[in-house]
Symmetry: none
Subunit: 226 residues, 2 copies
DNA sequence: CCCAGAATGTCCCGAGGGCGACAAGGATCC
DNA sequence: GGATCCTTGTCGCCCTCGGGACATTCTGGG
C-alpha cells in the first residue's frame, strides 16, 4: 500500500468510520479472559463476514483490520482499525448479523469474546459494562460531531482543514492534489482551485507533490476551527 | 403493581431497545424509576441547554423535542426526536456540558434521570447498563449509516425518503414545508421544488401543512431504497 | 540528455441548490 | 366580513462543484 492510499484510509476512518475505540483496559480483559480466547489470523483472512450471525466480538491485540461493506458491485471501506479496537460488538450485543466484514490486513492477534460466555461475565462485572457503555456513547458523540463539522462545508474549507491535519513537522504535506481530492471526495480541479486561492492569500505554497503550510492561523480560521 | 404503574414500566422497557433482548426484570425497572421522576415541559421550553453541566438524561415519554446547536449567529437543528428517545445521556455519562440544546416542540412529558442517582442503580443493575449500551451502539451504527446515505443525495431524494419515514397511517405527513426543509438542512424553496416535482409525477399530493403519500413504491424508488 | 508519463494550473459548461422577492391561497381573530 | 399572519408556489440570480479539455511543468528511466 503506498503512502497516499494509507492516508486515504486514515482519513476515511477519521471521517466516517469508527476510529479506534478502546473501551477495555487490560485488567478488564483479565476479568473477561474466561469469556473467550486468543485467535490468530493470517493476512487476508476474515474475522467475520457481513450477514453471518454475530456470535462474538473481537478485541484487536496486534495488527490491523479493515472493515468494509459489500454493496451491489463493489465494496465500500468503512474504516480501518488497529490495536485495542473492539469490533463486532454492536451486532453481537444486538444478536443480529454482522453489519460489515472484517478482514485482517497483516497478521492479526485478537481476543475473541463469545456472546454466550460474555454476557454472564458482564453482569458480574457491571463496571466493565459501564465503561463499555461510556466508550460507546463517547464514540457516538464524536461521530455526530464529525457529521456536523463535515456537512455543508466548501472544498476550500475542507482543504484548509486537511492541510492542518496532514502537515508534518516542517508544515509540509506530501500528497498529490489528486490524492487530496480523493481524500476529500472532491474533484482534482476543485482542490486545485482551492489551493490556488489559499496560495493567493499567502496561506500556503504549492509545489510538485507538496504543499507547504505558511500561515497556520489563517488556515485554521478558514477551516472554521474556533 | 397497578395498571398505570405497569404501563409505566412497559414504556420504560420499550424505550431502551428491543424488548426481546435481555429482558429487564421488574426490579430493574423499579430501580430505574427510582433514579428520577417525571417532568412536564411546555412548548418552547428547554429540557436542557448546551454548555450547561449535564446533570441528567431524559427519556421522552410524550411529545417531540428538537435538538439544536447554536453557532455564531445562527442555530443548526441537529435532529428531532420523539417518544422513547433518550437524550442528554452522552454528556451526562461523560460528566461534561451538554453538546446541544433540547427544546420541547409541543407539550412534552419526560422521565428525568439524575446522574448522581442513576450511576449507583446501574452498578447494581448491570442489565440496564447493558441495554443502554446496546441502544447507544445501535444509534452509533445508524448515525454512520445515515451519514453515508445522506451524502451526495439530491433534495428530491431526501424529501422522498423523509415522506416515507414521517407518513402516518393514512399516508399523510403533517408538517409545513419549512419544517421539512429544516429537518433536511435544505431551503424551503428547494423542498417546495422537490415536492412540486413529486406532485407532477403523481407520487404525492400537497396541501396546507400536509403532504399525502400517493405512490409509496414510486417514492421508495426515488429515495433509493433497494 | 531526452522523452514519456505524471502532476499542476486554467477555462468553460451545466447541474444542483441557497437566497431574495413576490404573488396567491389558507387560517385565525376581531 | 375584513385585517393580518402564515404557508405555498414560482422566478431569477448567483455560487459551488464535478467533469471535460488542454497547455504547461516536473520527474525519472533509458
Amino acid at each position: 500500500m503506498d503512502n497516499a492510499e494509507h492516508q486515504h484510509f486514515a482519513w476515511l476512518a477519521r471521517s466516517f468510520g469508527r476510529t479506534d475505540y478502546l473501551p477495555l483496559t487490560s485488567s478488564d480483559l483479565e476479568a473477561l479472559s474466561g469469556a473467550g480466547e486468543y485467535v490468530e489470523k493470517y493476512p487476508g483472512t476474515h474475522l467475520f463476514r457481513e450477514n453471518s450471525p454475530a456470535t462474538a466480538a473481537f478485541v484487536l491485540q496486534k495488527g490491523q483490520v479493515e472493515l468494509y461493506r459489500t454493496r451491489r458491485e463493489g465494496r465500500r471501506v468503512v474504516g480501518r482499525v488497529g490495536e485495542g479496537a473492539v469490533i463486532g460488538d454492536i451486532a453481537m450485543f444486538q444478536n443480529q448479523p454482522y453489519i460489515s466484514s472484517a478482514k485482517a490486513i497483516g497478521p492479526v492477534t485478537a481476543f475473541r469474546l463469545e456472546r454466550t460466555r460474555l454476557l454472564p461475565v458482564l453482569i458480574e462485572h457491571p463496571m466493565i459494562a459501564m465503561r463499555w457503555l461510556v466508550a460507546g456513547l463517547n464514540q457516538l458523540e464524536s461521530t455526530q460531531r464529525r457529521v456536523i463539522r463535515l456537512m455543508h462545508r466548501t472544498v476550500r474549507e475542507q482543504v484548509a482543514e486537511l492541510l492542518l491535519d496532514e502537515a508534518d513537522a516542517y508544515g509540509e504535506v506530501h500528497l498529490s492534489q489528486s490524492s487530496l481530492a480523493t481524500l476529500l471526495g472532491a474533484s482534482r480541479q476543485s482542490v486545485n482551485e482551492a489551493l490556488s486561492d489559499l496560495r493567493r492569500q499567502g496561506l500556503a505554497e504549492t509545489g510538485y507533490r507538496m504543499i507547504r503550510v505558511v500561515d497556520e492561523a489563517g488556515l485554521a480560521s478558514i477551516a472554521g476551527r474556533e
